[in-house]
Symmetry: none
Subunit: 192 residues, 4 copies
DNA sequence: TATGAATGAGTGTTCATTCAT
DNA sequence: TATGAATGAACACTCATTCAT
């Protein structure tokens, strides 16, 4: 990675953090430059506009690592593992997701990226959808809506925890993860 | 209601709509004035600042009407009715709630109003909490988190529908309401 | 005095006070109205503009009462009495004079009023000028300049006292009056 | 001096002139920018607010050069020289002083700067105060008041001359300087 | 690669003033 | 005589963006 590329990456990371904390509109280009120890002009060498930089901050940079097994699992285990992974993934990408959740409401170009981000199908999801189609699972008909709603829930709960505990870089407690998993599990499983 | 009071109310309604559609920062005071058929100066006679107006737009103006029965219902019916009411309530107040969801992330004064709005306990909720405490229902331990997550979900699904169908003042389809209700029902009920 | 005239007078007095305390530019018409327990519109019935009101506030409303003796006095007594009267007069009209001193620097229409106010000749001054012309007193050649400078001095000292003592409606101490009188006396008398 | 520093200095000088001529409130930031051949935004890079700029315009930038002799002079010569120097100093710094005189009446932050500006003691003043204390001179008890009053007088006379002669950058005539000196001399000396 | 210097086009806000009632 | 309601025209200040060096 050349120096230019490293600088570009650094700008993205620092700016993502700012956008997540303060929102796109309230983050000034001067703050971005300061956070990167660069002049504003320098930042503009890497990104042609503030909006370009926003796009860069929310564009997924790494793919989900491919997953094992799935087929062998019982439906219950399948959902459990899937949901837990989902929670971890949200936790890990919370900055990008928070930006997407917030800004996609008003910058419609971001809506597509948000959906695309949320709609990535890993091994588990494929298997779940297969089973739904086979009738082995009853499920909310549009699985995207589940993912959308679930992501929003998790993000807003994370955010609430962050504000109410006044600590910034918060992670979920294991207990909360368990509860969320259980909730989604039975919600998804539905009536026996 | 005097003329002044009517004008004030009108400003709130028109502005709420704008804030919900375009976001607080992207709604200019000039647009607000135009939407109200007033000069900017006139708007400022009613609200001392744009932020004051924001607060007015999200401050709950009417309380939930008190509810009937509750005690007599089976747990399943109780939750079902409760969730359905909740969905209707969210649908009805979606503009305020969308503003709160979005802006409370960055304007921390709004967080409290958001929580207070979400945390209103009507008759059903009291009964649910009673039953949880009696052990008749297993439930997500902090009921507030459920409400928070559920509200976010519903709002973001509503929003997604709105964007993907390109129709503005959207209501939920009954089918979707059913699905959401079922999801929440079994999620809340948990394993038998 | 009719009710209208009384109201007009009241507006002048209250406003003069405000202008003196806060300056013309920093006194808002809304404050003026509030200080008078009137609506802004009502104030505009009496004065066609803010500037009109300013003029009214600094226009001398009452003449110097005519004075006794003068001719019989020794030069020293003459100056002493004259200066003391002058100080008392400044003290009494300090609000008008402060406004004039300050605002005439930038609103040139006021310069004339300021000079006219300062240039009023009472019995003492006439006698002093007579004696100067007869050569009985050596004096600063342009007596107006003396009055101008002296008035400014007294006002700025009054003002300094007011600020440093943090009391608003201050009067000079007798001791200070004595000193000022002595200073002016010997300054005017000059070398023997 | 870097380009930035030169620009900053230029802004101060041009703005000082405007403030002195038109007053703080009546000088618009747009005029300041125009007078400096800069955009308003550029001016704001150098000064965070109009008030900051005001402060910069009245903050003394250079100290009085230390003076010679003093001790050897007769009291009369001492005062004469001192007063003449004072007049020259006021004449030289008339813009700053006029701003201070006018604006300190309403912007109380400036009062301190005004006093500090006026209260600088050069060699002559120290010697005068020494002699007062020794009883060799009778004097107005609070020397600060003399300086305050004297400065105001000189400024307002200067101003009057400026207005009545309709010439802007006026200097005192030598004759007037003599008269003012004489007046102050005998005022300060008092009765023999 | 990096920046110091500069700006056009806003942005929220203020205020003296008007007028129908 | 008095005012509630409204506004045009400004104003201080901001910010994303550009460009010569």
């Amino acid at each position: 990675m050349s120096k230019g590329e490293r600088t570009k990456q650094l700008i993205i990371e620092r700016t993502r953090s700012l956008f997540a904390k303060k929102g796109y509109d309230m983050t000034k280009t001067s703050e971005i430059a300061k956070a990167c120890n660069l002049s504003e002009a320098a930042v503009y060498k890497y990104f042609h506009s503030k909006k370009d930089l926003l796009i860069a901050c929310v564009t997924p940079n790494e793919e989900q690592p491919p997953k094992q097994d799935a087929k062998e699992l019982s439906t219950e285990s399948l959902i459990k593992i899937y949901v837990k992974e989902k929670i971890n993934w949200i936790e890990k990408h919370q900055e990008q997701l928070k930006i997407l959740l917030t800004e996609s409401l008003h910058h419609h170009e971001l809506s597509d990226i948000y959906l695309q981000q949320i709609d990535q199908e890993n091994g588990y999801e494929k298997e779940i959808i297969t089973r739904i189609n086979k009738g082995e699972m009853k499920l909310i008909s549009d699985f995207l809506l589940f993912r959308l709603g679930f992501t929003s829930s998790v993000l807003s709960i994370l955010n609430h925890e962050r504000i109410s505990k006044k600590k910034y870089d918060l992670h979920f407690s294991e207990a909360l993860k368990e509860e969320l998993t259980a909730f989604a599990l039975y919600g998804l499983l539905g009536k026996k």
